[in-house]
Amino acid sequence: MSTHTLDVAVIGGGFAGIGTAIRLKQHGIHDFAIFERGTAVGGTWRDNTYPGAACDIPSRLYSYSFAPNPNWSHTYSGSAEILGYIEAMAAEFRLGPHVRLRHNVTGIVFDERAGVWEIAVEGHAHPVLARTIVLASGPLANAGLVDIRGIETYRGHKIHSARWDHDYDFTRKRVAVVGTGASAVQIIPELVEKAASVKVFQRTPGWVLPRINRRTAVLTKEFYRRVPAAEQLARRAWYYGHESVALGVVWNTPLTRVVELVGKAQLRRQVKDPWLRRQLTPDFRAGCKRLLMTDDYYPALQHDNCKLITWPIARISEQGIRTAEGIEHQADCIVFATGFDVSKTGTPIPVAGLDGRILAEEWARGAYAYKSVAVSGYPNLFLTFGPNSGPGHNSALVYLEAQIDYLVSAIGTILARDLRILDVRRDRQDQYNADIQRRLTATTWNSGCRSWYLTEDGFNATMYPGFASQYVHQLRTVDLDDYVVVEARADQRQRRVVPVS
């Protein structure tokens, strides 16, 4: 049994985990390990390899500012290229020795006396010890399970978009696609090219906006390689472009109408049949659910071998999907493009904090945290993509980078001052969340539609109600005044709350 206590345990080897590791190293913190349950790093981008998988934020912005990549092939990159970027970062920053693959963390418990987290790893008899933890498990780590009657009776092939079966040959197959969200609109145009027929089962249509995806010229790549400042400038341009979109997408304003007009113009331009257009017209404000960015989806739906089905699904039968208009839509394969099980209430693993409190119990009616990064009662624990950190208009990586810099700074403080406990104050956390929830009432996400942003009760534990710049600004410095700080880690009999300077 190893008695070594890691300075930092990073749980999850996706974008967040790798980014955290890089920043830790850059801040001189080297005693850390990344616990990854899979066989490789990459997280969401390792798992989502379905045909057409891509990011709908421009790559220049969907990457870390501290790890620029002048080589992006297109404005918007596909999943393979993004995964390649993550792997390249891991290699460049020599993270290999820190990564523990096939290490599935099954729970963490805080030992208050020692000021140490005990990490239970599947298949390991003894827990791993760490002074601090970064829970970088990611909101899109788990495939959204589908709860449709009769799903177990289906005899054909089933595929979830987040666990694609590359061995299945779609040629001459009848395919049913359940879902019309961000993954579905990327998969459907690819399937239509291969399969004999594609039936798309839609529950609610989303707002579809154009996405102009251009190949990056060789000269441009070379220019960015030689003049990194120019690449940073391009990144800033994309950033502020997206920031301006917040005015229409985050809040219900006259600009929301403009976004909707762009969506309607795209629909009118690409779909001529009035009934199909009606079926594809959303009945909620733009931004309320995730905006879909694609030029290929509507044309694909109108292919001769493709059909949009909007009847409610009654059940799945042995041979296909029975809808409420009484017809069995038979299929050789059902693709569930039903997204992810985004946790708004529980936690990805059991987390036990001070006095044995369980985080999932506290979050049962909706998750909350302080600035989405720390939770009172769970000292020395930091979250990436924690509650209310979701962007609706800008790159998630911008938010993530701010979180990473904040938590690395906090971890640096814990290690430098040898703190036993750095625990966010409950009153500060409550005050912060009251403000967040008040601000959320004016946003499009809380404007009345049902989405994965909200819990069953309509509580928004997911999105940040403001500009990315506001989010980044609030995480610029770690103010110890927001925390209960307990020193004297070495002498556990002496507890002292560090006075606020």
Binding site: D273, P274, W275, L276, R278, D283, W311, P312, A314, R315, Q319, G320, R322, T323, A324, E325, G326, I327, E328, H329, Q330, R450
Partner: protein, 306 residues
């Protein structure tokens, strides 16, 4: 009269049936005599299309419903009306009434109402749709389905219409519960809805399609050798059930639809001079002037599997 709509939605989901649940080739088709066959064919075509009147109405109501549960209920109702039309098409096929894959056409009055709903219903308020669609449901669907069950012995037809009937009873229960709900609104809002609804020029087209439809269907029923009182009893049901709710009674549009229903069932009322004249006039409308079938009607199928 308050309804638990969540419970109703659960019930609707639990009681879904499919065309595949019925053996369309089972014995019994021979019970349709050649004489009945001839009278039944246009009647079934009309009935199948009248299902689509309800379907298109529910599709519009799904867009207007105030809660997600009610929206979902209307989505199901829309689909169920299509299912009824599909089942009726399957019966027509069983009885050898279909000419290849061609979908039989309805009479001009049904077609005019469908055209109207297809063009304008999405812009109508829930209180308008929520009071008119129930009348069409009780009067047309209700009466005509009852007629089929009384007159046709084919066990497959009986089995199919038992399922259709139980769906329809849920539709009507929700229809009247929603009328009750709508009646809770402030009188000021109800009047604004009423004036706003009637101020639209399109509504004149709606009235001109709706008025002759009821008389035309009455004529069809009489032509089938059936007592027209069956239709009138169905029309009376609208008022009978509506009167039970003090809130439904507050709906100005309910009062108008009810008043109109009263005229329809009184054969001596001068209203029939106008309505019968409209039946004759609309009968002269050249087919070329009618709009093409909406593309959603191409979804109709008698095949249990696709």
């Amino acid at each position: 009269m308050a309804m638990d709509f969540d419970d109703m939605l659960r019930k609707i989901k639990d009681r879904q049936w499919a065309l595949a649940d019925i053996d369309w080739d089972a014995p019994g088709a021979e019970t349709i005599t050649p004489e009945l066959h001839a009278r039944l064919k246009p009647f079934m075509a009309d009935l199948m299309w009248i299902e689509n009147v309800g379907a298109r109405g529910f599709a519009a109501m799904a867009k207007k419903a105030p809660t997600e549960t009610l929206r979902e209920i209307y989505r199901y109702f829309h689909a169920e009306e299509q299912k009824h039309a599909n089942a009726e098409l399957a019966l027509m096929r069983r009885w050898g009434m279909l000419d290849g894959d061609e979908i039989p056409q309805p009479n001009v009055n049904v077609k005019l109402v469908i055209d109207f709903l297809d063009k304008y219903s999405d812009d109508m308020s829930l209180s308008f749709l929520g009071t008119v669609i129930p009348m069409l449901e009780v009067a047309l669907d209700g009466a005509l389905i009852k007629f089929v069950m009384d007159e046709i012995d084919d066990p497959v037809c009986q089995a199919a219409f038992r399922k259709i009937n139980s769906d329809e009873s849920r539709h009507l229960a929700v229809d009247f519960a929603v009328m009750d709900l709508l009646g809770h609104a402030q009188m000021r809002k109800l009047l604004i809805d009423l004036v706003g609804g009637w101020a639209k020029p399109s509504l004149i087209l709606g009235v001109l399609s709706y008025v002759p439809l009821l008389n035309k269907m009455r004529d069809n029923i009489v032509a089938m050798g059936v007592d027209e009182q069956k239709l009138y009893k169905a029309l009376e049901r609208y008022a009978n059930v509506g009167e039970r709710s003090e809130f439904a009674r507050r709906l100005p549009m309910y009062q108008i639809v009810k008043l109109h229903g009263g005229w329809v069932i009184n054969r001596d009322h001068p209203y029939h001079l106008v309505a019968d004249a409209l039946v004759k006039i609309t009968g002269l409308v050249p087919k070329a002037l009618l709009r093409k079938d909406p593309t959603w009607s191409k979804e109709l199928t008698y095949e249990p599997a696709a």
